[in-house]
Amino acid sequence: MADKLYQMPENCDFSKVINADTHSNECTPVLDNKFFSKFSGLLINGPKEVVWPKNGDPSDYPAGPWGTTEGPFRLMVAGLVRTEYKTLGLKGEASEEVLLVAVNQQTAESYSGKMPQPDVDTEPDFDMGLEEIPPTDEEQNKLLTSYFNFDLVHDLGLPIKEASYNVYATLGEMKSNSIIINTKVE
C-alpha cells in the first residue's frame, strides 16, 4: 500500500491558531516531506466541535489590523495549498486566494470568504532598479507550499448558533477535503 502523502493532526489546540496567519502551526496538515512531497492540492483541518458562550457578541471582539482575532467567538481552520509556481500566476503564494466555504447541513445556508488582507500601510519595496529574472521551466513546475488560517466567525460571518457545517476550500481547479464542524452555544 502506498504511503500517505499527508497526515491530519488530531487533538491539536485550535484556540492557538492565529487568523490570517500564513505560517503553519500544530493544527496544519502535515505533508510527508515538507519540501519534496509529491502532494499537490488543498488540505484543511478543523475542530470537530466548538462551544461558544451564550452571552456576548462577536462584534465586541473586532479583528486587529493584521486580521488577528481574539475572544470566545472564534472557529479556526488551518490549511495548506501546494501548487506549481506557475499556477494561476500566483508564484506559489496562493494562500490569500483560497476560498473557504461553510455550509449549514440543516438549512443549506452557505458562507464563503478569503483570508483578510492587512489593514495597514506597508513600506514600499525598495527599488534597486533590478529586473526580475524569469523562472526557468523547471522552476515553473516546482511545487511550492503556502499556508492559510481562517476564523470562520470573522472571515465568513458564521452566526453564533448551534449548527453543523460542511467545510471545504477551493482555489482555481483545486478543491480540498471536506470536514464537518459542529457548533454549540452554552
Binding site: 476560498l99 466555504v101 455550509v103 447541513q105 440543516q106 443549506a108 445556508e109 452557505s110 458562507y111 464563503s112 478569503k114 453543523s164 460542511n166 471545504y168 477551493t170 482555481g172 481547479e173 483545486m174 478543491k175 471536506s178 464537518i180
Partner: protein, 126 residues
Amino acid sequence: MNNDLTNKSENSIVIERLSTNGNDQNGIVLHGKFDLEYETSGLLVRGSEVLNHIILVATRSGNYQSVTPFKDVIVFEDDVRESDSGCGGVFNINLFNKILFDGPGDYYILCSIGSVTSNILHVEHY
C-alpha cells in the same frame, strides 16, 4: 439519465457547461447530475429536498460567491429519483441569474451537496 442507484457505492456530482453553439449571449448555463447515498453523503434531508441543498460556488479573479440556487424554488417529487439508500437527479443553472457578478473572465465553478463536491468547471468567458 440513468438514475438507477442499484449497487451504487460512491457519491458523485458532475457539472458541465451546456453548449451554446458559440453564442455566449445566454451566459453560462450549467447542467449537473448527482447520485448520492444517504448514509455517506452527509445529507440530513431526503428525496426532492436534496435539490434545495445544492450549493453553487463561483469565483472569477477577485470575485466570489456561494449561493443556494434552488433554495426558494419549488421542486417536485419527480425531479429526484429516490431509492431506499439514496437519490439521484439532474439540474440546470443559469449562472448569471444566481450570482451577483458577471462579465468576461475565467470562472471556476463547483457545486456541493452535503459533504460531496463536484468537479470544478473552468469556463473562459470572454
